[in-house]
Amino acid sequence: MHQTDFKYQRKDLPAGFSKFGFAFLLIGLILAVAAFFVDQSRAAFNYLVIYMMIVSIALGSLFLIALEYVAGADWSTPFRRIPEFFAGLIPVLFVLVIPLLLLNHDLFHWAHEEAVKQDKILEGKAPYLNLSFFVIRTLVFIAIWVLFYFLLTRNSRKQDTTKDQTLTSKNIRFSAAFIPLFAITITFTAVDWLMSLEPHWFSTIFGVYYFSGTVIAALAAVTLVVVVLKEKGYFNPWITDDHLYSFGALLFAFVNFWAYIAFSQFMLIWYADLPEETFWYLTRWEGSWVIFSLLLIVIHFVVPYAMLLSQPAKMNPKRLKFISIWLLFAHLFDLFWLIMPNMQPLKKGYVFSWIDLVFPILGIGIVLTIFNFIAKKENLIPVGDPKLKRGINFHL
């Protein structure tokens, strides 16, 4: 049963990755710039949606890498490079965040000094919600993520040639340090970039809510790439049904986790029925937003739950490919639902605009291009990792 004959030959990624990536990036960029000239405010909010989506995929991937090291998991070692490539988006966040910081006036009500002066509550929150502290926080958090991205991936890549086992134990220590920092930074990121769009509203579970979506997005992205590459023969015969089943099971677990957290947040606010908390949900019940709110339950929970419930479904590559694309869309939809109703002209209900369709194109372009740029230079499999053999021989 044991496959001891392991010979890895480097192969370039399918040409589609770079072609599609570049095309999407180019078209997306042109349309996005046009969108900024047409409706700056709407473009800013839409850009925030895809920025948070990229943060989800990049940071979630880094979390998956750290989780593998800390938990001593070996099933995920053969394809650990895929989250490493996705985490390569983290340094790019420094560039991607600049437009958002410049557009703070369009996005954040608390960034308007004259509005804060007339508002007792915002005045009270000003020591935290002020522009300079906000910018510092954001940049420091990205710097922390970049630091751990370089620490973890540098060791992992060095291992390909040196085969040095101590690098794994170093990475375990880095990962153990990263995970608590990850918990803190992702919570504050969720509060800063999503919750503070409605500065009067508060929910203590909100950081966990964003985290649950983050892991779904990163896992779905990794699953999608692994299944696609496996179908094209890149991972054969190293990725078996057992690996796929683990992907399916983890996705299923996090779909449930998201639903649990989302429902906990909703039920507590609904039950307590305090006006300072309920208005956030009532905005999302206003006009056509009610359709979005109800669809979110179906898209983010009911459909993936039903599709991943049975055991064969969790290891069926076609089903996994479909459901990972579905879940990526679900997380994007979730972010859209979190962010867009905060836009002043959309408070009374959703009104369609072509701008909403432009930015996902740009997002796919950015992710594919960066992924391809990093993947081109690296081995697809961490050939020097001491856990690799066990990972390839993984059986449930």
Binding site: F263, M267, Y271, H395
Partner: protein, 386 residues
């Protein structure tokens, strides 16, 4: 000895060998066979080409039944049979029902899974297996791995099976026979008696501890308290009464003493503190009809319904009665007048003032001015010229 053969077992030393043996057995076409190991061997189910267990369907069906039952129960009790408003939520408050639905779903699904496993897959009430208490089972539950090919397999042929198993190079082969009689028959009187005794003792102990033990001393649950109930004698006070009269000048909560009590022709009366609002007049009407109308009549004409059993009172529409101040009417209701008794104990203060306001309405209706008619026409939209 007329033993019935259950199957032939082969023992191996390593997990790799058992995986190979399982594969070979499948390839040889045997279907009724089983593999035993002291711990779960990764990949054995694939080597044996096992199909996914059907148990999941039982879990699914009963899980869904649980959800439906829980929702139905809450819908029926909370929204149909005994609707109650709790926390200002609607009768069918779905978000509040979801945790309960979830719990019942999980409960029913797990119970059904365990019971289904025992009845369908372990073939209850069969509670013995030929492999029980064999040397083979002792070994495979310690440090060996074994495969058994059962005699009930349609390709079973003793010599061929022996030959086949030997070709796998086991450390030993063993024949396993059915035991001559069932070792633990479920319906044996001793066993049934044992079950009955266990059931009786368990329920007895439960009943005793929940209904008796918990109420023995020192568990009084505050039923015995060093206090006196109404009408009980006291040893503390000299007069022996447990109930005490309040201190002089004590006023009950919500009660304001009436200062002109007992005066037949008071020189001073109270001011009416209530405006004749719609609600106030409605209250006054209700109380008037209850307490006043039996003698004074529904409209204050003094047409008693008591058919002479009690003297008829004068009309409330007399000029004397109309010239009474509000406070005077209030005084009469509170204090009584002539043979009319005091109503202070039956009608509350607010209700008495409401009655006063209502009597004023009756009086005005009997002696309306033409200007009143204009107001009424305007309000009712009646434009009939008159």
């Amino acid at each position: 000895m007329n033993k019935r053969l259950f199957g032939i077992a082969a023992l191996f030393k390593t997990p790799d060998e058992i995986i190979r043996a399982a594969k070979k057995t499948v390839e040889a076409g045997y279907q009724k066979y089983d593999v035993h190991s002291p711990y779960p061997v990764h990949g054995i189910d694939r080597a044996m080409k096992l199909k996914p267990s059907k148990l999941g369907f039982i879990t699914l069906v009963f899980g869904l039944t649980g959800s439906a039952l829980a929702l139905l129960l809450m819908y029926w009790t909370m929204s149909v049979d005994y609707p109650m408003i709790i926390g200002g939520k609607p009768f069918f408050a779905l978000p509040a029902f979801i945790p309960v639905t979830f719990e019942v779903t999980v409960l029913l699904a797990t119970l059904a899974t365990v019971i289904g496993m025992i009845t369908f897959f372990f073939r209850f009430p069969e509670n013995d297996h030929p492999l029980h208490d064999t040397e083979y089972m002792k070994k495979v539950s310690r440090d060996h791995f074994g495969v058994v090919i059962e005699a009930s397999d349609k390709h079973f042929d003793e010599s061929k099976v022996r030959e086949f198993l030997s070709s796998l190079h086991p450390i030993s082969l063993e024949e396993i026979y059915y035991s001559e009689k069932e070792t633990y028959p479920v319906l044996e009187p001793k066993f049934v008696t044992f079950l009955v005794v266990v059931a009786l003792v368990t329920s007895g102990v439960t009943y005793f501890s929940l209904n008796k033990l918990l109420y023995m001393q020192p568990f009084t649950w505050m039923m015995e308290q060093p206090k006196l109930n109404p009408q009980q004698p006291s040893t503390l006070f000299a007069d022996g009464f447990g109930m005490r009269t309040p201190v002089q000048g004590t006023v009950a909560r919500g009660f304001i003493p009436y200062p002109y009590m007992g005066q037949n022709n008071p020189t001073e009366v109270l001011q009416n503190p209530f405006l004749p609002t719609k609600e106030n007049l409605k209250l006054g009407e209700a109380k008037y009809l209850t307490f006043c109308s039996p003698c004074h009549g529904n409209f204050g004409d003094g047409d008693s319904r008591l058919r002479g059993q009690f003297p008829n009172p004068p009309s409330l529409h007399s000029s004397r009665a109309r010239e009474f101040s509000d406070g005077m009417i209030y005084h009469i209701i509170t204090n009584g007048q002539n043979i009319m008794p005091s109503y202070a104990s039956q009608i509350t203060r607010e209700e008495r003032w409401a009655i006063v306001n209502y009597i004023r309405v009756l009086q005005r209706a009997k002696n309306a001015k033409s200007s009143d008619l204009q107001v009424v026409n305007k309000e009712t939209g009646n434009n009939a010229s008159n």
